[in-house]
């Protein structure tokens, strides 16, 4: 899905790349970069040959990206459920599942060039309508680029966001 979105002129950023699997699959664009806050993830992504930065979301990056990919942590997690390890950090979406998503959208315009796109994975556990409200509030228009219904009934959508 990510590859289908990529254009030859794109400078691509994957936020929260994890093992770097998605970022390493992207071809036929100008450049690909990735971030993750997890020390194990950045080592794994670096071993795949990805240009990776250890940082919180997009902190410390300049405004050069035309396509940004993000599959945010989204599992609704109560404070008393937290165990504070790196795996949890990759999944924990805050009490309503929309914590990292909201923080990302508040900042992403700082690194996205005019006309740039964001591809973001959203789960029905985060409530699509609530997420769409956040997109609008942060100045993005959106379309649904793809969707999939999992065996347990959870739906995943890939939203394509643009800033008008």
């Amino acid at each position: 899905m990510a590859q289908a979105e990529v254009k030859p002129d794109d400078i691509v950023l994957e936020v929260g790349t994890g093992s770097g699997y998605v970022a390493s699959s992207i071809q036929d664009c100008r450049m690909v970069f990735a971030t993750d806050i997890n020390p194990h993830a950045v080592l794994s992504a670096h071993e795949r040959g990805i240009q990776v930065v250890r940082t919180d979301l997009i902190a410390g990056l300049r405004r050069i990206f035309s396509l940004i990919l993000f599959n945010p942590p989204y599992i609704p997690t109560r404070p008393d459920e937290r165990c504070h390890d790196w795996l949890e950090y990759a999944l924990d979406g805050g009490p309503d599942g929309r914590g990292p998503l909201t923080r990302f959208l508040d900042q992403v315009a700082d690194v996205l060039i005019p006309g740039g796109r964001v591809l973001i994975v959203i789960s029905s556990l985060q409530y699509f309508e609530k997420c769409e409200e956040i997109f609008k509030k942060t100045g993005f228009s959106y379309t649904i680029a793809d969707h999939e219904i999992l065996e347990d009934g959870e739906e995943l959508r890939i939203y394509r966001l643009k800033r008008d």
């Binding site: 450049m31 970069f33 806050i37 950045v42 080592l43 670096h46 240009q51 990776v52 930065v53 250890r54 940082t55 919180d56 902190a59 410390g60 990056l61 300049r62 050069i64």
Partner: protein, 58 residues
């Protein structure tokens, strides 16, 4: 990190320029070094070829 990665980095706090100091470099990339924000008086390390822009203890 390759040199081209340096071009896209700035201070995560003040967004200002970072000075690159290379300690170890091979044919491909910078292995260890530091990225210094003079405005914030903070040094961000480069280790194992990866720049670390997380908040540092001053």
């Amino acid at each position: 990190m390759k040199r081209e990665l340096y071009d896209i980095l700035c201070c995560p706090v003040c967004k200002g320029d970072l000075e690159l100091k290379v300690t170890e470099e091979n044919d491909i990339e910078i292995i260890t070094g530091s990225l210094i924000c003079h405005a914030c008086s903070v040094t961000y390390p480069i280790e194992d070829g990866i720049p670390n822009l997380l908040p540092q203890n001053i």
